[in-house]
Subunit: 434 residues, 2 copies
Amino acid sequence: MIEKYLPSIDFAQSVDGGIAAPLGFTAAGVYCGVKRAGYPTNTVTAASILANENIQREHKPDLALIYCDTVCNCAAIYTKNLVKGAPIQVCREHLANGKAQAVIANSGNANTCNADGIEKARAMCELTANEMGIDKENVLVASTGVIGQILPIEPIAEGIPYLKKSLSKSGTPAANAIMTTDTVKKELAIKLTIGGKEVTVGAMSKGSGMIHPNMATMLGFITTDAAISCEMLDKALRQAAADSFNMLSVDGDTSTNDTLLIMASGLAGNSEIAEEGEDFELFAKAVYEVCLALARVMARDGEGATKLVECVVSGAVDDINAKIIAKSVICSPLVKSAMFGSDANWGRVLCAIGYSEADVDITKVDVDFRSENGVVPVCRNGAGIPFSEELAKQVLSTDAVYIDVTLGDGCGHAQAFGCDLTYDYVKINGDYRT
Amino acid sequence: MIEKYLPSIDFAQSVDGGIAAPLGFTAAGVYCGVKRAGYPTNTVTAASILANENIQREHKPDLALIYCDTVCNCAAIYTKNLVKGAPIQVCREHLANGKAQAVIANSGNANTCNADGIEKARAMCELTANEMGIDKENVLVASTGVIGQILPIEPIAEGIPYLKKSLSKSGTPAANAIMTTDTVKKELAIKLTIGGKEVTVGAMSKGSGMIHPNMATMLGFITTDAAISCEMLDKALRQAAADSFNMLSVDGDTSTNDTLLIMASGLAGNSEIAEEGEDFELFAKAVYEVCLALARVMARDGEGATKLVECVVSGAVDDINAKIIAKSVICSPLVKSAMFGSDANWGRVLCAIGYSEADVDITKVDVDFRSENGVVPVCRNGAGIPFSEELAKQVLSTDAVYIDVTLGDGCGHAQAFGCDLTYDYVKINGDYRT
């Protein structure tokens, strides 16, 4: 699915390998049984699951390792939810010096709201460090899944040696291992030239429910072999997230575990990017394009979604107001339901603009629906205009719909990424735990 | 359905008649065809619909009139959405002097985002005034239904004489006429003694989608025969709405047409309530209890809902923070989906508290699920505790579920009213217009 949203940019090209593509990085994923309900039992142990090739083939992995041959400069952004997963608290400690060499991540259990959460998150780092022979402070940790269930550490302890054995230059097993209700893996890598050297940026992420700015990522990991200071890495990451993951909403629920990490090995051999300038601009653009592609795929693969719904706002008072409006439109359950039904119910778009609390002149709002199937203007100057219901149905009956909102208030621009609200969203979330 | 949520209060008792119960008031509802798709046609006219008793029996009415023998003191609260229905603009004009004698209201068309909206809303008032022989400035108007479709005035013009003919002391036809996707009519009346005189308060409202504070009512009308000044009427209404309709959310979409009106005929003969004191307290309490009952029924009858979901917060820093938390919990699509599945996924409750932006100590949060089937404590001090999944399922498998959130931060208290998110919500809203 990601192919459709790959950046079509002149300064970079797609390459294979995902998160493991940049120099120095390898990755792995195994199924250790964290996701298994009621696990472990007396008869089914993690060891037996890990040693059984049939089980490994049949199950999506649930434990991922990203490893770098060298200690990396790192930056991270975490959820703004006051309830923070234990892994986030441990990441904060371990990233105090801006350095890391490995990431251990599991799906199936968020390790959040558990009395022993911090202890378990630290154990995940320590087990990884021991196995890889590195400093435990250089291991980062992430968990995603059900909140408030005790994380079984045994499958993770048993799984880590298997991860080490299967480290490779393919990011795919790791990208699979962080999926929860995602239906497609989300990974990509691009290469570009910075300061005369070839630089690669790889990434993977997972959705697909409890997705709302800020941060909307749940889990996102970016690797690069660019040489860049921690400070500039942090800057590039924040810029990229502001217009991609932070403009993404599946359901308005900001997760407790959202984590976006970037690691730079420096092995590309470019002269270190330590300040703003041409090299930084190029690198930041590459990170942004990667995040944008992932954000679009995460929206499209939102829980139960049948289509990407993107709202593009122009002519707002400023970019901030444009963002408020774009987010309000893609978050409206009524707009989302109408998109599911391919119903050109533009009144709901106006309604969502009206309650957004943005500074907007409602009498100057124009709305068009747009897709690869055409464009339907439906509203001019805040009032309805006649349109062909047949054409509208055709435009909306596709898997990527754009709602263009043109205002008469200024030069502000923004785009926000969402999806339709479907029966399957309700089905998936009506009984997620069992 | 409303019987279940009628106020069980010692100072008042339920009476029949709904909106028409207080002295001086009558009400009526007819089916004139505003709701009819593609109406009018050459063969089906409003006149033929109105004159046909079979058609009137078979269809839910779509045009309501509330009339009072005398000019009333009035107060109103309107949507905060920047996009406001034309009827609201006309109500504002007509209520500038705080007086009104009649309300004309239609369902099936919101008369919003139409170039001729104001003109049509004014015409509705004028037609009513002419028929009733009253001043057009004393007529208020409300519309609810699809946004952005031209309101046909002919069926309304034809319907008003029929409304006049069928005015009675039953509020039911009017309560039926304002329903859109509501599955039950929402009306009640209570009587109490104020200053030695019997005073009656009647009310009706409609939901059931695009419901979110503030205002969450879509349309709500309250009548009373109490003698009370405009100023105190306004005060009582705002107090009542703050803890009832403004704490109600079905889907997070604040409508463009929300209107809550109160009319006081003064015919009860009590000495006019013109300041705070015992009489005002009693009257305000009666209005609040009526609004509370309607809010609960509107939540329970939210689009597609199978249950009322109420969040009761205590121990917050203050009432404002308690309200923020209670609203965040009942608005979370993930909590709502879990309630639909009768799944005790309390982690999502914690998550919604965490992103609410309230001032809260997460390590002191206790959560219980409660219903007529029992109580299940699921979280203490921000961490999960063991509980019986069987008991939890039993507690949640009912049509009114309470999520009790107890904090350790202060004395703030609030309750918020919502419902579960179901397949039917998506179904209803995936193709609402056609």
